[in-house]
């Protein structure tokens, strides 16, 4: 049963130097045409399930104009929503307006996710972003006054030349906004990005780790519930939990991914193909062992880890029979408390070393 849906809006007003998501520069005509084909895709695939979470991501969904946003929400009214739906849209501070926020409210959006990334000048220069603290404070205030009570802010760190003091300033600023949810990312210099092409170097592995520790310490009033995610009690991202719990979801739009029946599907990233209604780029058909691989590598991202009983009910197999957990627990890489298995906090930042033990060929 599918209960979650992701909608991709690939348009942005500017392209950031590090971004390797599926994105295009905003163009009014292409957006109009895109929305038509998005509607076609949804209608051809969606099977009328009642959804618990919808997440509109990008790109920058808030880069669409009011008319286009209205059209988008009308299309999304095809989707049936449960009474307690989590309905998220991603926004950028430089394209959000009070009118757009009001429109969100009107269509039932109840969670806002803002890409802040940093407020430090050096960082913003490298990332090629433009943000002022005043703008941020003002926007958050507007959101609150309109009644939005579930807001996420993204923080990026480990940016070239960044030091630990810069990061502390960014964290303090975000804390002062008193939002419900904070996502953090250590910068990845992906191929095909401007940073990569310019041969940008990573900061040292040791400093990166120090930064992660600082974040974990300073956000101690939040629940650290996933490797990079922190939330106040009751405000975990339910949509992202769907991914980490290895549940199925729809993904509509350019470059979106979905997990439907036994397939993980990736949509095309070519706008031309998409506008010819050739949505699918490729897919991976999963057998039981593939599904368990995903269950492990996703579930162990969560601080609480994987519940052994739930695992048994789902796969009719004992997790302890499938893996040599004793070897990992004896090395302190996995904790098995009888109810859950999880990666201890001090090993989260090297979790790949642990996760490879749960991938079977």
């Amino acid at each position: 049963m599918i209960k979650s849906c992701y909608i991709h809006i690939p348009f942005c007003n500017t392209i950031c130097s590090y971004c390797d998501f599926c994105k295009l520069l905003y163009n009014e005509k292409i957006v109009d045409s895109y929305l038509e084909h998005l509607e076609k895709e949804i209608r051809s695939i969606y099977k009328n399930e009642i959804l618990d979470t919808i997440y509109i991501g990008g790109g920058t969904p808030s880069s669409l104009n009011l008319y286009q946003l209205d059209k988008l929400f009308n299309i999304l009214n095809i989707l049936k929503k449960s009474d307690n739906i989590e309905y998220t849209i991603e926004c950028n501070f430089d394209s959000i307006t009070i009118d757009k926020l009001k429109l969100f409210k009107k269509y039932g959006i109840n969670r806002l996710s803002f890409g802040l990334e940093s407020t430090i000048k050096n960082n913003l220069d490298i990332l090629e972003r433009n943000i002022s603290k005043n703008m941020v404070r003002k926007t958050i205030k507007q959101c609150r006054s309109l009644g939005f009570n579930n807001i996420n802010i993204d923080l990026m760190y480990a940016i070239p030349n960044e030091n630990i003091i810069d990061l502390e300033k960014d964290i303090d600023f975000i804390l002062s906004l008193d939002v419900e949810h904070i996502s953090t990312y250590s910068l990845i210099i992906e191929e095909h990005t401007k940073l990569y092409i310019n041969n940008t170097n990573y900061i040292s592995e040791d400093l990166d780790y120090e930064m992660y520790k600082l974040i974990c310490n300073k956000l101690n009033n939040y629940n650290h519930y996933e490797i990079s995610n922190f939330a106040k009690e009751g405000y975990y991202s339910r949509h992202n939990m769907c991914y980490w719990k290895n549940r199925k979801y729809y993904g509509f739009g350019l470059g979106a991914s979905s997990y439907i029946l036994d397939k993980r599907i990736n949509n095309t990233k070519s706008i031309n193909k998409y506008l010819e209604d050739k949505y699918i780029f490729d897919y991976e058909k999963l057998n039981k062992s593939d599904i368990i691989n995903y269950e492990m590598i996703l579930g162990l991202r969560l601080i609480e880890g994987i519940n052994k009983e739930e695992f048994y009910l789902k796969y009719n197999k004992n997790i302890n029979d499938l893996y040599d957990l004793e070897k990992l627990t004896s090395q302190g890489l996995i904790v098995d408390n009888g109810i859950n298995i999880y990666i201890p906090l001090d090993k989260l930042y090297i979790s790949n070393e642990i996760l490879v033990n749960f991938i079977k060929e």
């Binding site: 250590s186 040791d206 979801y249 990736n266 790949n352 490879v356």
Partner: protein, 598 residues
């Protein structure tokens, strides 16, 4: 076929001086092969040979040539050009009465050519000097003629050729007829045939290359290998023209192939004499002096289950490479493998490459070692072919290592850097000869172990590629040798131990641990790398604990991609060797070869 009309000869030349192209041209000119059929370098039929441009396996081809209305039969026996293969050269020489000495008109004589020339003269061969590549714009024919005169040839003996254009080839063919003697030997004596090469064919078993010295052999004869005592019935005889052609018999003076359903590789020994079981010869042919391996290293299959495959590969290679030796050995770090002996570094590299390419076995090779001699306090003498076998220092009285006399040919402007290199390698200067006003030969006594590392590469880079060198073993000398161990996380990695001169141990240890620090990735915990002599640590570096290996974000769009990333990491780990609790990449085992100070 008249014995007087047979000419058996080989070609001696330095790498790249055009030996194989001359052979090609002879084949073409005599109509043995049309130019359409001629794959460049017809005689080199192994992939590696053609790629590296060097001949590493023997090959014999029969060529018909008409001269003054007489038909002559040439047997051209190919020889390897590199110093490591002087053993194989001596094998080919024993099957010949003459040799073409081919020298590049722009390069002049090289050290190895000279060494092989002396070997040929020792074997009593008639030499025809040939200056090749005279078409090159930078050819300096007069200078090369002078060089040849300096080593005892007269100007009118010398033949000028361009294998590329074909110029001079006819004159060369005539000279072969008129100057190289026909084979001696008596057809009426009992059979004596020398095995000078062999190879394994999956259909016919072992095929041997033979030179009939006395008597004759025919299909159906029962033969006796005089040294191994094995007997077989001859199933087939053939010659290479250069396509294989069946014949019913071979007589004294002829060269050809013999097969006899020989399944057991050990029955055939290159250098052995074949005779008839019913009419055996009274004495064995002088064979060859057995070449002893000079350089040893451990070869281990990367996949542990390929151990038996590796044994089979080594056995097959040994068939036509008597100088290769091997015996099983076990390493704590690397598992089951073989300790293998080689004539030199190139020999080692070629065997490794052939195993990987022709037999599809991926290898880890340990650091090469020479054979050391150790005198114990109780007066026992040991020979050590692997650092692992080095006894504890407390029971050692004296240690000895093999020395070679290195002859280095070079343009004089590189004398300085070359001498510096030799000095750096513990060399002792002997003397220096001027070959002409611009070229010198420098003689050094150097420990073989110093040459075994990257001496050749260094020599080439110090001389911009112009220097060449040859070496001969001159004996053992006392030397202050110690075994240096490498410890990872406190545990000795046996495959990384080396024997070094004590005065150089610190420098070497430092270079090696630094190199290992670069190569071994961070682990889950901090790993000390130490170089130690006994319990005395002489160099140390730390690999810091891994701090970060995480998929920082992982959302809907990323999931399949991130799983692929983890699968890639897992595959990477599989290629590493687990040593204790440390994962070591395969390149680490080669790092010990690194001697650079940078």
């Amino acid at each position: 076929m008249k014995r007087e009309n047979i000419r058996n000869f080989c070609i001696i030349a330095h790498i790249d001086h055009g030996k194989s192209t001359i052979a090609d041209r002879i084949l073409e000119r005599t109509g043995s092969i049309s130019s359409r059929e001629l794959k460049s370098q017809m005689l080199d039929d192994m992939e590696i040979e053609r790629e590296r441009g060097i001949t590493i396996k023997l090959n014999a081809v029969q060529i018909k040539y008409k001269y003054n209305n007489e038909e002559y039969f040439f047997n051209l026996i190919d020889t390897p050009g590199h110093v490591d293969f002087s053993y194989e050269v001596s094998r080919s020489l024993a099957a010949c009465e003459g040799a073409l000495l081919v020298v590049d008109a722009s390069q002049g004589i090289e050290a190895q050519t000279l060494a092989n020339l002396y070997l040929a003269l020792d074997n009593g061969l008639k030499i025809i000097p040939v200056i090749n590549k005279i078409d090159l714009p930078n050819a300096d024919i007069d200078k090369v003629i002078k060089e040849l005169e300096n080593i005892g040839f007269s100007k009118d003996e010398i033949i000028l050729t361009s294998a590329k254009t074909g110029e001079g080839i006819d004159k060369l063919l005539e000279s072969i007829v008129t100057n190289i003697p026909s084979p001696s030997g008596d057809v009426n004596h009992s059979l004596r045939a020398l095995i000078f090469d062999s190879l394994f064919d999956s259909y016919r078993g072992v095929i041997t290359s033979i030179r009939v010295v006395d008597g004759s052999i025919k299909v159906g004869d029962t033969i006796l290998m005089m040294e191994t005592g094995a007997t077989y019935e001859v199933i087939g005889l053939s010659i290479n023209t250069p396509k294989e052609k069946e014949v019913t018999s071979l007589i004294a003076g002829e060269v050809g192939y013999l097969y006899a359903s020989i399944k057991s590789i050990t029955d055939v020994k290159v250098g052995d004499t074949i005779t008839l079981k019913d009419n055996p010869a009274a004495s064995i042919l002088p064979g060859y002096k057995e070449m002893k391996p000079m350089v040893y290293c451990g070869l281990y299959p990367i996949e542990a289950n390929k151990f038996e495959d590796l044994r089979e590969a080594l056995e097959k290679l040994k068939l036509n490479d008597a100088a290769l030796s091997f015996e099983p050995e076990t390493s704590k770090a690397l598992g089951f493998g073989f300790r293998c002996g080689f004539l030199g570094l190139l020999h080692m590299e070629i065997i490794e490459e052939r195993i990987e390419r022709e037999f599809n076995i991926e290898l880890i090779a340990t650091s090469p070692s020479v054979i050391y001699e150790v005198l114990l306090t109780d007066k026992t003498k040991l020979t050590i072919d692997s650092p692992v076998k080095m006894p504890d220092r407390s029971v050692i009285s004296k240690t000895y290592e093999p020395y070679v006399k290195a002859s280095i040919f070079s343009p004089k402007e590189y004398i300085g850097p070359i001498m510096e290199l030799c000095q750096d390698r513990r060399g002792t200067f002997i003397n220096m000869d001027y070959l002409d006003s611009s070229r010198v030969t420098i003689y050094y006594e150097i420990p073989l172990s110093e040459i075994v590392y990257d001496f050749f590469d260094k020599l080439k880079s110090y001389s911009k590629g112009y220097a060449s060198f040859d070496y001969e073993f001159i004996g053992y000398k006392e030397s202050n040798l110690v075994k240096m161990d490498i410890l990872l996380n406190g545990e000795i990695v046996d495959a990384l131990s080396v024997v070094v001169h004590k005065d150089f141990a610190y420098k070497r240890g430092k270079v090696v641990v630094e190199k290992l620090k670069e190569i071994i990735p961070r682990q889950l915990f901090e790993v000390p790398i130490q170089a130690a002599i006994g319990s005395h640590v002489i160099a140390r570096e730390n690999i810091k604990a891994m701090r970060k290996n995480v998929l920082a974000k992982c959302y809907g769009g990323d999931i399949t991609r991130k799983k692929k990333l983890l699968e890639k990491q897992k595959a990477g780990k599989k290629r590493m060797k687990q040593i204790g609790s440390v994962e070591v990449p395969q390149e680490a085992f080669l790092s010990i070869l690194s001697t650079s100070d940078k």
